[in-house]
Amino acid sequence: MIVELTLALALLSAIGITVFKSSLDLMAPRQWTIYQNISDAYISYEQAYAERVSFEVMTSGSSPWPVYPSRTTTDVEIGKFPGGAAIMATVIRTKIADANNLPAAGGNGTIETNPSEMETWQLQSHLTYKIGDDEYVKSRTVIRSQ
């Protein structure tokens, strides 16, 4: 009797551990997918904003995208987990001038190489977030010209 019960106990414990581990194995990639979906959704704003912001604002001194190596760093709430816990991330923005821009616009171009005085900027937004101890970065780059 005791032998059978002990065997049953051992078997149940083994089943319990296996089931628990398989549940964890199932949940880990789902947690990853949630982060992917929420961060993908959030970074679509960065792209849309970079495409839509007026050239005047984008190139002004108070531009949301300062000239590299300057950058703006903002902590943002990108979404919420089931239950309402906030998911935080950091957005870093900077912009890089095209080499052929005139010096006044951050480049090395001259009136000979750039007779139309074209101004081109690469707007970069980087969204960084942590899952456990690992940090991830998602980036979007938009080219603006005038």
Partner: protein, 161 residues
Amino acid sequence: MTVAIVVGLMVAGISLTLFNSQLASYRILKAQNFLISEAPQVNNTLNRIVSRANFFRMYTGMNDAISSENAVIENGKILALMFQGTDDNSQSFAVISFDEGNSRLDYYQVNSMAELAVASPSWNISNSIKDATFYVENGVLRIKLVGPNDEEIIYSSSTLR
């Protein structure tokens, strides 16, 4: 005998714990479903529709949408999108409306906003949304969806330029 009873109780206890942990896992997996499967599909649908529109307006209520009055740029519950045809006079409207009573996000296709008064939804985009809010931030249309377990995801989109 005592040993047998103790071991028996342990077997029963572990069985119960096993059952409870399975139930808890099921609840967690179910709670994650909105963000994993429903929200990306809603985003895909909204992006395909919004990106083809010429311009949009948003309203807080159906009556304002029907009369095309009192458009807002925050806390919108109804998003009206206008599609301009090749002919200057050919316009059609798509309306995405959050029905709070039924927790549904519905899509209407109409030729004029006034038609909304008698129109039935052409599609149901989602029926597991607790709240949907449309607003504009820095010229970008943002759509905040709240799922059945208070999860939240914010999409951004822009119309044709």
